[in-house]
Symmetry: C2
Subunit: 323 residues, 2 copies
DNA sequence: CTGAAAGCGCTTACAG
DNA sequence: CTGAAAGCGCTTACAG
């Protein structure tokens, strides 16, 4: 494999000059540039990118942490991130964690070893205080609500948005409202539960643990959710579901069992993915792809030395047929 | 930032010894190992991975090329790939190409520069003869039918499977059959069209260009497809659709317009994603996640020097309610 | 505009 | 079991 030295020899210049040509530096006499270019062609030169990384001290690659790719919400985020990365000529390394702490730590370890220049965390199991220990490691962007001055963050205003949805349900006459979350533990869920409790208080309804469902991500989970609802002694008249896949599964299963939506059960969803439009599911739109793009923009800012920022994306309530 | 030399100094050993400790080599006296470990802790040492890569000549990272992440078929593949990569401790770099040739070339360029040790191509726009020019560049695995001895490949037997589906439709009494593809150009489509033509020939029906639809990927595309079908002067009684998202969109739109499935129109799909089970869509199962995993296994074999292999995954026809 | 030299931080025969 | 030395292939002040 030809290296820069061989090129220099063949072209009759110094390796400095070859490097300059390689990096499009000005101040190279056209004649020498030509010679170098020729030599590179003759020897079929390809730059060894590892040497560049070692010299420069960075890799031009950023990592993305997510629990699992094959869920529209995360696929949407990743799509946005990948689009922005592409236009910036920055590479993406993928860390699929399944919410396993060790894998999340592993990705942070990679940041430390400079395998990646920064890390975008789409969702995590790691508690905030543990993440804090990594704050000096490198730039980190969180796709979730955060006030932490050490990390950038992007999200929708979860408390406000969820409250908005709840008030909407209440305005439609519902007082018995259940909620369905992806994971109770996440920070987003934290805000949603808070909003839920606030809303209940305002209408003087008690908080019932059994009306807060969780561990729901897929359409199948939505089917399960429906049956859980069926089994409930006292049933909510409305469910506020944290993701469209689950809502869709629940809706379709309800229809199969001749439960009328929204009369027997109202469903309000989150995300506004394609399927919710097609099935006519009322939902709170979250622009996942846009969120992915913004997260990358925030990362780029941090990479060039800016301090972390917190960005809040707008949401909107889309009325359709399930409430 | 502490480097290996600093560690050596502090521990009172040579850098060779430090390196040995770092790489778990045998033949290091326990006492010295301890000293080195201590020194590393004191100086908060982190290995510079770029130096390792430069020295070793490889990066422990492989690239994945796909047109767009946010489509269940590709997300499924990627999920499988990521799972296997994780257990092998190999990193993944993502190249979202949108079927743009320049981006596909870019990913191959990265392979050449050793940014990645190998490339898994989930789907591509690049014609085979152009890809051929890159055969010396490094290990490449294709997730599509291929006999090319230069690349490994994994796929289902597209011709056989598609023919199987067609014969199934025919056995149900259909003779007017249309097909709906993602992209006419791909190699998979090539085999499918071939199978389609063969089947038509066998039952003595003519091949009609207007019954071969393409550019169909999403549920929205499925809605569009339904309306195209409606506008057709002469209508197929059955559509064989190459992906579940499109089938789902078509089915739901048909139901909205009181077109009875399968009586007015039969739909046979491909993939067997969750949604096809839930909507009761008859489909040909393709194990995308498994395919992703296998593609990675093939890659690993090539990385350790084995010659390329071609692996064919089984498929199965799942009868449900739409045929 | 150009080159010699130092530096990035590791790995790996080789000799002992 | 251990160390000195060469090597991986670039980049980047510095001096001219």
């Amino acid at each position: 494999m030809a290296n820069i030295r061989k090129i220099a020899e063949l072209a009759g210049v110094s390796i400095s000059t070859v490097s300059r040509v390689l990096n499009d530096h000005p101040y190279v006499k056209e004649e020498k540039r030509k010679k170098v270019l020729n030599a590179m062609e003759q020897l079929e030169y390809t730059r060894n990118i590892h040497a560049v990384h070692l010299s420069k001290g960075y890799s031009n690659m950023i990592g993305v942490v997510l629990p699992t790719i094959n869920i529209p919400y995360f696929a949407g985020l990743l799509e946005g991130i990948a689009e922005e990365a592409e236009t910036s000529g920055i590479h993406l390394a993928l860390y699929q964690t399944n919410y396993l702490l060790e894998k999340e730590r592993y990705s942070l370890e990679q940041l430390k070893q400079r395998q990646i220049d920064g890390l975008i965390i789409c969702s995590k199991a790691m508690p905030d205080h543990e993440l804090m220990e990594w704050k000096e490691t490198g730039p980190i962007v969180l796709c979730q609500s955060s006030q932490d001055p050490n990390f950038s963050s992007i999200s929708i205003p979860h408390h406000t948005a969820f409250r908005h949805g709840l008030d909407y349900l209440i305005s439609k006459g519902h007082r018995k409202i259940g909620i369905a979350l992806a994971r109770k533990k996440g920070i987003n869920s934290h805000y949603r539960i808070k909003a839920y409790q606030d809303a209940l208080k305002d209408i003087g309804e008690p908080y019932k643990e059994e009306w807060v469902m969780d561990n729901l991500l897929t359409m199948s989970d939505g089917e399960t959710l429906f049956h859980k609802w069926v089994m409930l002694k006292e049933k909510p008249t409305a469910m506020f579901v944290a993701n469209d896949q689950v809502s869709a599964g629940m809706l379709l299963e309800a229809q199969k069992h001749s439960v009328t939506i929204p009369d027997d059960l109202a469903i309000l969803s989150c995300d506004n993915q394609e399927i919710s439009r097609i099935l006519g599911i009322s939902t709170i739109e979250i622009q996942t792809k846009e969120m992915g793009k913004r997260s990358f923009t925030l990362m780029k800012k941090q990479l060039k030395g800016d301090s972390p920022e917190h960005f809040v994306l707008p949401y909107r309530l889309i009325e359709r047929l399930t409430v």
